[in-house]
Symmetry: C2
Subunit: 351 residues, 2 copies
DNA sequence: CAAACTACTGGAAACGATACCAACAATAGA
DNA sequence: TCTATTGTTGGTATCGTTTCCAGTAGTTTG
């Protein structure tokens, strides 16, 4: 711990033999500086190892080159990829990202948002645990800095939004399963309080449209972002009336996927054989599983980059807009046909 | 976006009909305030909805109630648990945690550290990608604020350290494997540039001590924090000379574990049957695998809480110290005996 | 050659708080 | 009654910048 007082703009001014205002002008490259002045100040600054104090700058300017991001849970692989994308753009523009965990509670998220405001962030990024509540709407509309929603929705508000076209991916998956003969399908997913869940349900239902029978026999289970919830629900559905047992499962979100797979492990169910499975959101460690699990995927890092670019634009005065990024379905080993599933089941039956 | 200028301490002073200095005194509960003054100021502050500006406070006080944490990769489950622990303690003491991703590069980490210093954090927490380099040592010793290392080491420096006793856990695992008859074991782990890897190697070697033959035939592979590295190395070792093929594998760290399991999937190797397996660091999604994988675990959240408490203490003037947290080995299904592994292998041979 | 620019430069007032110091009144002690 | 002491308060410098305003010198224009 060294004690040495930090070097200020005054020290630079004294050393260069000029006024502090001139130093400031040079360092923030104001047009009105002579070439000689520029040289002298820059030399002095370099010699003293001066670097401006961001705190003082924030106070004076009212801005901070800081961007805040309040996120439901940054440990989720999806969000950590988003963050990577955000940082890649932000850092190269001289901004710093401040990530705040919401801890799964709207109250805490709002606290974080106001604390970021007090710290004078230049913009706010949001992936909250709940979107579309009046409370959130109120605080967002009262925020006097640019706001960009990431994979969240809040309509009729003049803010930026970067969204995924969740419908397309899951609809394609559902269509594929229908074509493979399935009619009894279940979508297990997270909380309907956020857009991704709502859109996934919508896409699932749209995919079902082509088969009236499937529409009758399939349904979705939404609830909480927790593996325990998904595990319990999956177990209930898979151990219920054998006649009504679904022949295909779709899981939406990391926690749901973990829950579904946990349930399968416990029940001795092998995905792709006893039941078809499509997970929505690919996960890096899914690669270790055989058979390979079919997945709907999306580019989280691209979304991060898009959101960062958007908020920078808004800081620069561009009007808020909404952009959409695609999702895509990739059939792998567990998109098995109804026929195969039924064949396996009757074989088991006989034993 | 509302335009309204923020309410300052001056507004409160005017409203209460007192001097700004008195307002400041009341709000930072200085002892020398009359009960009447206190009431008037508090009323005025409440009526105006005043809250002090942290930026101005930082500038004046030189401190910020902010704690910085520079971490190798916060997407790793271990670190996100640590962060949870940190926040639980810090938030309830009125501090805010600023998490900065190091991006796997020491250069970037050092940049982050200086930026945090400029932002006047009151303390710095570190889990860097490399410890014990002269460069890091230099910058840490020049840091004029309390520093606490989390699961990292840097000796002969007057800073706080919260460390795991990695040796005990992995030594217990190794001993168990030795008792199960194994002599040909391989430890696949991350980069030796950080303490956990070095200690794990040390614990592994200590565990080997009881068997001269094991000491001769077992070895460790250290390298990078990447699944690809671990996968490649595992494949190399498992497809080499059958006579020398290890009968037990220990994997250290998330990425190594993923890599090992990927390799196993590709080669059709089933842990616990073709080879014994112990992973060092339990992972939430390991639960979905059958057989259940033996693991060495540690309490990341507890470490976060300990580190937070320690840095708060140091800010309060307590001398830096070092504390150790335990690690423990839990044998599950994949701690299979040499006998079983060999039986399976020869059975395969005959086919 | 006076007037009007242009190109720089320095001084000083903010930004919003804290903390030191002096001043004041009321009480206690001599 | 006079001084010391205690408790409480207001004024003001300060933290490290930015930015507005004036001022100077040199250049161009009528």
């Amino acid at each position: 711990m060294t004690k040495s007082r930090q070097v200020t703009i005054h020290d630079v001014a004294t050393r260069a033999g000029v006024a502090v205002s001139s130093v400031s002008r040079v360092l923030s490259n104001h047009p009105d500086v002579s070439i000689d002045m520029k040289r002298r100040v820059e030399d002095a600054a370099r010699e003293l190892g001066y670097s401006p104090d961001p705190v003082a700058q924030s106070l004076r300017r009212g801005s901070s080159r800081l961007i805040g991001y309040v996120v439901r849970d940054f440990a989720t692989p999806f969000f950590s990829d988003v963050i990577e994308g955000l940082e890649s753009v932000l850092n190269s523009s001289g901004y710093t990202l401040l990530v705040m965990n919401g801890g799964g509670s709207q109250t805490q998220e709002i606290e974080r948002m106001t604390m970021l405001k007090q710290r004078r962030v230049d913009g706010l990024l949001l992936s909250t645990v709940v979107d579309s509540t009046p409370k959130l709407r109120k605080i967002v509309s009262a925020y006097d800095k640019p706001v960009v929603l990431i994979d969240r929705d809040l309509d009729n508000l003049d803010i930026g939004r970067t969204l995924f076209d969740h419908v397309t991916g899951i609809k394609a998956a559902t269509n594929d399963l229908v074509n493979l003969g399935h009619t009894s399908m279940v979508l297990v997913t997270g909380s309907p309080d956020v857009r991704p869940t709502r859109e996934r349900v919508k896409g699932f239902l749209e995919g079902l449209m082509t088969s009236p029978e499937a529409m009758k026999k399939s349904f979705e289970i939404t609830g909480a972002f927790s593996a325990a919830f998904a595990r319990k629900e999956t177990t209930a559905v898979m151990t219920g009336n054998p006649a009504k047992r679904p022949t295909a499962i779709l899981s939406g979100g990391v926690q749901a996927t973990i829950g579904v797979l946990e349930s399968f492990s416990e029940l001795g169910i092998r995905p792709g054989r006893d039941v078809a499975l499509v997970v929505v959101d690919d996960l890096p460690w899914l690669r270790i599983l055989r058979p390979r699990i079919s997945a709907v995927s999306r580019d989280a890092e691209a979304m991060g980059r898009a959101a960062a670019t958007m908020i920078l634009d808004q800081i620069g005065g561009v009007k808020p807009s909404t952009i959409y990024l695609p999702t895509s379905y990739e059939a792998r080993d567990t998109s098995s046909s109804l026929e195969d599933v039924m064949a396996y089941r009757t074989k088991m039956q006989r034993k």
